[in-house]
Symmetry: C2
Subunit: 201 residues, 2 copies
Amino acid sequence: MSDRKDQLIDRAIDYLLKNGLAGLSLRPLAAGIGTSARLLVFHFGSKEGLIEEVLGEVQERLRISLATVASAKALVAGEAPMKRCWRWASDKRNLPYLRLLYEAHFIAVRVPGTYERYLNRSSLNWIEFIASRLPESISSAAMATLCGAVFDGLIMELLSTGDLRRTTRALDDFITLLRREHEARTRVARIEERTYKKRKA
Amino acid sequence: MSDRKDQLIDRAIDYLLKNGLAGLSLRPLAAGIGTSARLLVFHFGSKEGLIEEVLGEVQERLRISLATVASAKALVAGEAPMKRCWRWASDKRNLPYLRLLYEAHFIAVRVPGTYERYLNRSSLNWIEFIASRLPESISSAAMATLCGAVFDGLIMELLSTGDLRRTTRALDDFITLLRREHEARTRVARIEERTYKKRKA
DNA sequence: TCACTCATGTAACGATCGTTACATGGAACA
DNA sequence: TGTTCCATGTAACGATCGTTACATGAGTGA
């Protein structure tokens, strides 16, 4: 963990954020960050080792960054955690990191045994982050899956088109749908509760 | 458009459905489908030409396949078009084609000028398909974006985990949300209409 | 001063890449 | 029968890939 190596990781991350992971090769990467392929292999052992360390650092940075928005209140009351999470994810400082992780995730799914152990958890973990903050009335595995899919889909759309306004409005619409469903279910629950009390009395 | 070329396209599609597009190289492809790299270049001009024709054929097959479910009724009444579309997309005969197109879409977004003119429209066009069938009450650009994102996200989740049951339930939940919102808005609309009539009278 | 470790440069290895040159077989048509 | 065009095989080209061998300079503690 020398200073030189950390510096190389920093620069390699910048390079990967720009150029992606799919067609990565050592010599252009080395030339782009002011070193040589020889030194990359010297410090990281191999190309795969470099990618491992870079992806690990990327996940760590995102994890730390996400922690700053983790102090959200419950859904429905105040700003929705989903909205907060969306503002974080669509921030232009975080979005390139997400793009890189999505790319790695895609490659890992396509070619099993590639990077998958560095992505298995905590990479796209804002889904758990959101799901754990759903109110009980609309909390289920399917609903958590839906919330995660909305995020994945909207971020992909944002990455493809760059249309932040439209994707943000789509998320707002989804939050509205969720809120209305929550209100409908709790109203039914209150009615049932009242009915139950009446019978009891 | 010789028979031999069509046969090569068929086999190349099968190969790409299995092995993906990212790390494609001519010699393994040729060996996998019983020909030679020499002949692939002879028939398609270049590797890029081959990918163009293969992706074009893939889109054409999906377009035809999607047309078979295009005779859906309006949302809310009967089976939702989204559900119908989901059953089509998650069919194990169609899913590999979608995976290939998603991969191409990802590469095209990452490396501008790559395949993008072969994907610009009609590739992921079930989004328009769905959006055009939303009832007026919940029809907007944002809502269409949301529906598309739900599809993209759920299909990615299905491709990643293979969990058809959970992703299908998530879609059902979303349809429920949409339906409830539709009912709420039309109810409000009816009340407003009644109020308006009363005043008029 | 000397040995030793770390960092770095030069150059090459074998493999694979997309592509091409050249030759040939075989069918169709004059 | 001869010619012409399509299909195919063999072999190679130059480029690039990840990786490695070897040498050397720089710093550092004994």
